[in-house]
């Protein structure tokens, strides 16, 4: 078990890197997902088709393939994702500004992939708003935008919290893939490094890595369960 103490900095560093990419990808996915959700419910057919196409493609493609696309197609398109070196942000998240672009590629892949699920979570929240509400708003003469802003979205927010949380949890778990894909130093890559290259005993390393992920996923899941139960009681 000494590896847990000796290599504590490796575990902590891996946890920190995984947390960083999760925070960044969550922010990106929430923004992009909201945009796609707006596209999907907009009254303009081509925009709706665009949103639907996006969701269909990214929901049905394995994240692994998305990640490979990000790593191969982006350089082919002549980009190494430099636009993610956002001034100020790259001071806090130093990996954004490194010369090895894998972190940014992984971030893009995770964001694009998760956004499709965020969109669906938001839409399920919008669908949960009783149609009578929107009808009432419409009969009051509110426009589409007003209807969304003042009536539907504030209520849908409540119904989408739980599915959104599930999406974020899934995203945290998906982030484990980045280590197998070129990003050095996150939790999953540390597991590989410590067990195969440095030859540490398997069980303690597995425990350390598992704790790292469980710290992020289990409390969030418990919180969601509580919210869900409270909402179920309130709805009765």
């Amino acid at each position: 078990m000494s590896v847990l103490v000796d290599k504590f900095d490796v575990f902590a560093g891996g946890f920190w890197l995984t947390l960083q990419i999760c925070v960044l990808a969550a922010i990106g996915a929430l923004i992009l997902g909201a945009v796609v959700a707006v596209l999907r419910i907009s009254p303009v057919p081509p925009l709706r088709a665009l949103g639907t196409a996006y969701v269909t493609i990214f929901r049905n493609m394995p994240l692994t393939v998305v990640m490979f696309f990000a790593a191969f197609a982006l350089p082919a398109l002549g980009s190494n994702a430099d636009f993610l070196r956002i001034p100020g942000l790259d001071v806090v998240f130093t990996r954004l500004s490194t010369d090895l672009p894998y972190f940014r590629f992984a971030l893009i892949a995770l964001t694009l992939y998760t956004a499709a699920f965020v969109c669906e979570a938001l839409r399920s929240g919008i669908n949960a708003v009783p149609p009578g509400q929107a009808e009432a708003a419409r009969s009051l003469g509110l426009t589409f935008g007003q209807n969304l802003r003042y009536v539907v979205l504030p209520q849908s927010w409540k119904a989408s919290i739980v599915p959104l949380g599930s999406v974020i949890i899934a995203m945290i778990k998906n982030s484990a893939l980045i280590g197998f894909f070129g990003v050095v130093g996150d939790l999953s890559q540390s597991a590989d490094q410590l067990t195969s290259a440095e030859g540490y005993a398997f069980i303690p390393v597995a425990i350390g890595i598992s704790i790292g992920y469980l710290i992020m996923t289990v409390p969030l899941g418990a919180l969601l369960d509580r919210i869900e139960r409270r909402q179920a009681v309130a709805a009765r």
């Binding site: 692994t64 419409r138 999953s188 469980l214």
Partner: protein, 315 residues
Amino acid sequence: MSSVLYDVPGPRQRRLTLIISVLAALLVAAGAYYLIYLPLDEKGQFSMELWGPLIDPSNENFVLVWERIWVGIENTLIAAGLAIVASLIIGTLLAILRLQLKSLAGRRYAGLSTPVAYLLRGLGSGLAVLTRVCVEVFRGLPVVITIFFVARGLPEFGVTLETLWYLVIGLTVYNGVVIAEILRSGMEGLPFGQREAAVAIGLSPFQTTTLILLPQSFRIMLPALISQLVVVLKDTSLGFIISYEETLNIGKQIIGVLSNPIQVYFVIAVLFILVNYSLSKLAQYVQRRLARGRKTAALPTASEVATPVDAGANV
């Protein structure tokens, strides 16, 4: 669905929609052309040299490439099929077990002496807590990590298997737990009268679960279960980390020879999207059929179904 958000458009609105539609379509097309097509074309990514082996039957490599891809698809389907069957079995057993333990934990053991009764109650709730912890741990760990741990861990204990089995075990550990939770939430969502009726005709808790609750739970949770199939199918692509020869790994091998990553990944992505999209459509169809059928049990609402589906929304 969302049509309730806006009225049936009048002439002015229709004109406006048309104008915005055309503008938006142009914008999207221009974006696709300038940001995706042109850069790819400049790099010569549309040359037949790169695409030929995949789409041109007269190409010398065409047959070879597709033979390999077919091997990959077969392997993917084998792994997915085994993982699905295994997770369904494990999931069902786990769901039954958790429900039994829950009813056991609430039992009073009247008629037994006090210490024995307390011991049994402690044992019951202890086991209930233990299964709960197992569920939380295996659900909270990324599948990649589970597969990796299985492939790295089992050989340490002297169990060496083919890579297929590592993948299947890893997928089963995760998806079994997820399916167990889907089935359990289905059973607990059933009206309580079902259970009371079962008790009234003298069924034991085990009989109640297996004869009354479980079959209904399978029925109402069918859409969520089918969506979980999509997740398993997508997750088989993780086999590449333990070098199982599934579709993606074969793709990597092809790229190694022909060096056309974008084209190969494009074809693989299309394959996955086609299969998974039809599975999702099947889930939707089943859901609609169920919604139309007899309503003995309150069907879960859209958001409730969405939750387990998205919670399992892995890789």
